[in-house]
Symmetry: C2
Subunit: 710 residues, 2 copies
């Protein structure tokens, strides 16, 4: 069957239904074996989540045996179908199929180490991207389905960019399992809406509809018409009534979904949680082992020996044994295809292969201006000056915003939107799937979760860039965290940081949010102070191949400082103004960096006090420097007190400073300058605080032992 | 018309339509005056959000003149209708109607100070709860509609609890304006789904359907069938085609919504953003002033003098002038009703009036056990021991969970669910609207945003309690923040804190989240160490009348410590073990508090080192103590180094400690004890680190000036 896709891809995939019918006699044994395996694994640990995995057994057989294109012995085969387990607590479902289908790392020993004390186990409590056969780390509900949307968008973009007639070098499908929970989480609902808008016909969501969550029946909290809601959101819906046994029905639905023409597909599969156990159909089956007697009873019911555990019979092994070879054949076919394609389209082929390897063009840094206008410039505008020339030239970057295009300055000349091409006609939108500018809508959380999917498609093949006000990265924080946890490169352009953003007021003025991102592992939170530092921030972000970065910029214009250096940003903090005989060190940060310089000047001019000035855009990068560099930069060991100036909560600065001029309350709705004045961020007031502190230090020896809020 | 409600309330409200028809000749002038006022206010500032407010003018006239029951001169009239502007950036819409309808604080001068530099302005960039006539602070999109769901739930609960035949002491309706954005935000979608499930017929959402957001046409990012989606979610839908002028049609729709029998109502009102201006119907009308010429043109078009600004003619003043008196009449009727009710139902009336005043029964603390079992107890279980007796007895508490009832221990004997009563029959659920246990579903963000609405109904009349794993309070963080910003009491029971939660792994193990909540203004983040401290945490939380609290508890059993004191928690940190000649101070926290005691014992026994031990459950409460208390507790000025032991990111502890045994990376999926071991949280390993640090301190003078990660 040839399936034309709206992105121009066509793919020929034979129907698996004849094979399903031929092997149907084996299914009963396979399903029983699988279910007992899950029950045994949970019982061994005395916990875990058996019910969902058992209920989804027939779905798993349908996917891994009959539908998905993947290669167990080449887990990272580029054009593999992506599978996302959004209901990640049912991880044993995936682990067991990885074992059965021949993923080499997932040995039987590893599988049986589920929830054991071994630190190198491949069976953590939720799937983790580090391990073979796992596409994304899931667990926090709703993330996985948003990731899947991103994975499907990655396919669309790469396929439309690189496929040529006869050479569909990118043609994979994305399959996503969800449970009742994912249909309640906001991030999933945002992503569902956007996937419908984008008409991602290469995305299939399979709903394990068992109508049970931790609290009991879903009726306790959700009585909506799910199918109608999905249809209203632009999805095709297929029902499967007997999801526990009807493999033929499931495979038929999955094939229909794979062949979808215009929309993503939602397959509503009715299952029974903890099928055939004494807790079948109840919440008790969700998150606890069944108990030894119940597991034994289940074995007896299934005609197995209740004394034996972890039994996988030869027939079951045989049922799955052809899958690695089948996968290697696909790998070889694809390798040949890419090889032929590169002969036919040498330039495109070379670019494609570099993308596959996750390489940027060697000259990417050359697109960054070597200098900037001297006039005061908002650092959000600087960010555009730095990045838009890169985005224009390099396909790797997919750039989006949560409906703040006029504010975040991420539009490059000639940008094309990522959109279904038909919207050109119906809505007059300049877009198709090769577009790399994504209108995410007012969906900050999905934006970042989807961007994790874009990044997870293959390491550094796509570098997603998101943008919104810094404050709204609190909405997106769970997804930003998941990116950091998964070592996924992604660049978050956060504008309107600090009280300087002005009259939008305390709901929009971030006070405490930097404390979160400075504490979060494996993410760079960078506040550059002017255009030159913005260049340094972008360079650090693009060079951080295994971590996300937040570039935190100002709404208001900032003076351009002659002392700043882009290479200083890479070290986290560096000296702007040095003096061997200084009596105080001022730490300046981001939008308020110039305040530190101005205070130093006023201290010198009016008080005869000499101050060193440090620019401190990124704590994490500074922590990565040598102890010597850090000590020499701060010089606290020389007894020189350090004072940080930043209108954020001080938390975390106590590590680098003896005192701080910070903000310990929520903001206030005032225009930018008035807001700074209201909170005491004027040069006179700041200078007075510094002088008073230095005076106090002489009189109160205790102060030396304490961080002082000035 | 008498409207029986499913909660048993009946209300008699005459139709306003005859009055609408009588006054229809005035509408044109009122609408034009209003629109020009908005245009002038934005033009004066040179910014702001004129377009939406102008497009919604007829909706506003319909609401404030014809539909809503409120009292401008008694803004906090208890039984007033609640109005929520979820699209808070259109705040001028609300401010202008507050002025026109006679709210005394909103003088013409105040209105004209919109976005000025005056710090006492009542017209901040988004509505703020502190000001007359504002029910909740909005701005971050999607929050307001979720708040509105909470406000409507508050009405249902209070009405069902206190109303008696002939005495509907609580009968108000909740009206919520939203724009296109709120229909995209996840938190709104969660709340919409739950409101449909709860069949909140006392909630009406009015959709300002102008099909424009910042990026341009909504088609760029959303092409779903909104009405179908709302119907699928359990809402009635009414369309109004001409939302710019058709006041009669809008009033009719609003009346139909107010009389809804079984469902919340979604009124889809088509409007034109920036109507009649040169940017009408475009994104440019959204967030910028029109420009002086355009404003002048608009005045000419409307037959006004283009040279005059801020003109509100006598006819318009007269149109609104009867509203304060009408409101006072409603206030008097309600006061009389409550008075009669209290005569007829003395006990209930007294309780109701105490609720109105926001008072708890004087004896609430007596429900807390005076002692606890000595056996190891998970602090999540301790939390249930402390709080469930209170929740059982005191109606003030409405308690919910995001689908973690089996894990969070918040169920008291005899609890009744908050549910539509018909679900008893259809789903076998033990609930009605008097129920105070809320199954929020897997909707953490909406849970906390809705709880803000419950709290905002009237100060401390309802104290909402939410619960889920600590990690998932990152999903809810934007709403938790809004509670803190609004000084709303709310208690968040966060279980499964720290790596001790075990095998669910790094997605569920909070490392950096405490740093956020310790930095966030006006919230208490408390980690109690055992049952006694859990008692102290709850007391602090219930006593915090103007702030939310997070009580952070363990999944795993904790030893019960003889040194802990509930009154110590109120001081944030206190001495557990004192020694005048100690060489080191150990700071213990929450689930790991016992580690500090055990390390101290081992230091003494094996190394001859004497340690002081401090329990440090809450940084914010500690900061509220006197300088003397803080210094005497920490004794760092005496040169005694302090070491904090907590498997979280260290950020913020640098203020209180010289060194820390913390975690600077994401967690690891291992059972609780193995996870602690993996990260070095065993007594031997911890003791070794302390000893090594004390040795190093002697050899390296620099270390005294630095926070050291051990």
């Amino acid at each position: 069957m040839t399936v034309p896709q709206s992105n121009g891809v066509s793919k020929s995939l034979p129907s698996a239904l004849p094979l399903v019918q031929k092997l149907s006699k084996d299914h009963d044994n396979v399903l029983k074996t699988f279910r007992l395996l899950i029950a045994d694994l949970c019982q061994q640990f005395g916990g875990g989540h058996p019910g969902g995995a058992i209920g989804m057994a027939a779905i798993g057989v349908s996917l891994w045996k009959y539908i998905m294109r993947y290669a167990p012995h080449t887990p990272n085969f580029f054009n593999r179908d992506r599978f996302v387990l959004s209901n990640g607590h049912t991880c044993l479902f995936q682990y067991s199929f990885l074992h059965l289908t021949g993923y080499e790392a997932m040995t039987f020993d590893q599988l049986k180490s589920y929830h054991s004390d071994r630190a190198d186990a491949l069976c953590p409590g939720h799937p983790e991207i580090e391990h073979e056969g796992i596409e994304v780390t899931t667990g926090p509900l709703g993330q996985g389905i948003a990731n899947a949307v991103g994975l499907a968008m990655a396919t669309k973009n790469l396929a439309t960019t690189y496929n040529r007639p006869g050479y569909d070098v990118v043609s994979n499908h994305t399959w996503c399992m969800i449970g009742d929970a994912c249909l309640q989480e906001g991030v999933a609902l945002e992503a569902i809406s956007l996937a419908g808008h984008f008409r991602l016909n290469n995305l299939t969501v399979i709903y394990d509809n068992n109508q049970v969550t931790c609290d009991g029946s879903v009726d306790l909290t959700n009585t909506e018409d799910v199918n109608a809601k999905m249809r209203a959101s632009g999805w095709d819906v297929i029902d499967v009534e007997d999801g526990c046994y009807d493999i033929e029905g499931i495979v038929g639905a999955l094939e229909q979904a794979r062949n979808a023409q215009e929309k993503p597909t939602f397959i509503n599969v009715k299952t029974i949680i903890g099928l055939d156990s004494h807790v079948a159909g109840t919440a008790t089956a969700h998150g606890a082992a069944f108990g030894p007697q119940s597991v034994a009873n289940l074995k007896t019911l299934y005609g197995f020996n209740p004394e034996e555990h972890f039994v996988i019979g030869d027939a079951v092994r045989k049922f799955f044994q052809d899958l690695p070879a089948r996968g290697e054949q696909w790998v070889q076919e694809w390798n040949q295809l890419v090889s032929d394609y590169t002969v036919k389209h040498p330039e495109l082929g070379a670019e494609f292969q570099a993308r596959v390897r996750g390489e940027l063009p060697a000259n990417w840094e050359q697109h960054i201006p070597s200098s900037f206008p001297e006039k005061p410039t908002a650092s959000r505008a600087s960010s555009g000056l730095v990045f838009n020339p890169i985005a224009k030239e390099i396909n790797t970057f997919m750039v989006g915003t949560a409906d703040l295009s006029p504010s975040v300055n991420m539009i490059w000349p000639g940008k094309v939107d990522f959109q279904h091409p038909d919207l050109r006609t119906t809505c007059g939108i300049n877009g198709d799937y090769s577009g790399r500018y994504i209108h995410y809508g007012i969906r900050e959380h999905a934006m970042c979760a989807i961007s994790n999917g874009l990044a997870a498609y293959s390491p550094n093949t796509i570098i997603p860039v998101t943008s919104t006000f810094f404050m709204f990265y609190l909405y997106a924080a769970p997804a930003v965290r998941m990116g950091a946890l998964q070592n996924l490169q992604g660049i978050h352009v956060a504008t309107h940081d600090s009280i300087g953003m002005g009259e939008d007021g305390p709901t929009h003025q971030p006070i405490e949010l930097a404390a979160l991102y400075r504490a979060m592992p494996n993410i760079l939170y960078i506040r550059p102070g002017d255009s030159e530092e913005v260049a340094g921030a972008w360079m650090a972000a693009i060079n951080a191949k295994k971590a996300p970065t937040i570039i935190s910029t100002s709404r208001q214009a900032l003076p351009q400082l002659k002392q700043t250096r882009r290479d200083g940003v890479a070290r986290g903090a560096y000296v702007l103004e040095e003096d061997e005989f200084a009596t105080v060190t001022l730490l300046g940060v981001g939008a308020e960096l110039s305040f530190a310089l101005d205070v130093a000047a006023q201290l010198r001019a009016q008080k005869g006090i000499t101050a060193r000035v440090i620019s401190f855009p990124c704590q994490r990068l500074f922590e990565q420097q040598s102890l010597e560099y850090r000590r020499e930069t701060l010089r606290r060991h020389r007894g020189i007190p350090a004072i940080v100036i930043e209108p954020y909560a001080p938390n975390g600065w106590e590590r680098y400073a003896d005192a701080g001029i910070n903000v310990n309350r929520f903001g206030h709705s005032l225009p930018s300058k008035a807001a700074y004045k209201f909170f005491g961020y004027e040069i006179d007031a700041l200078t007075t605080k510094v002088v008073r502190y230095l005076d106090q230090l002489n009189g109160d020896e205790y102060l030396r032992h304490e961080f002082v809020d000035l």
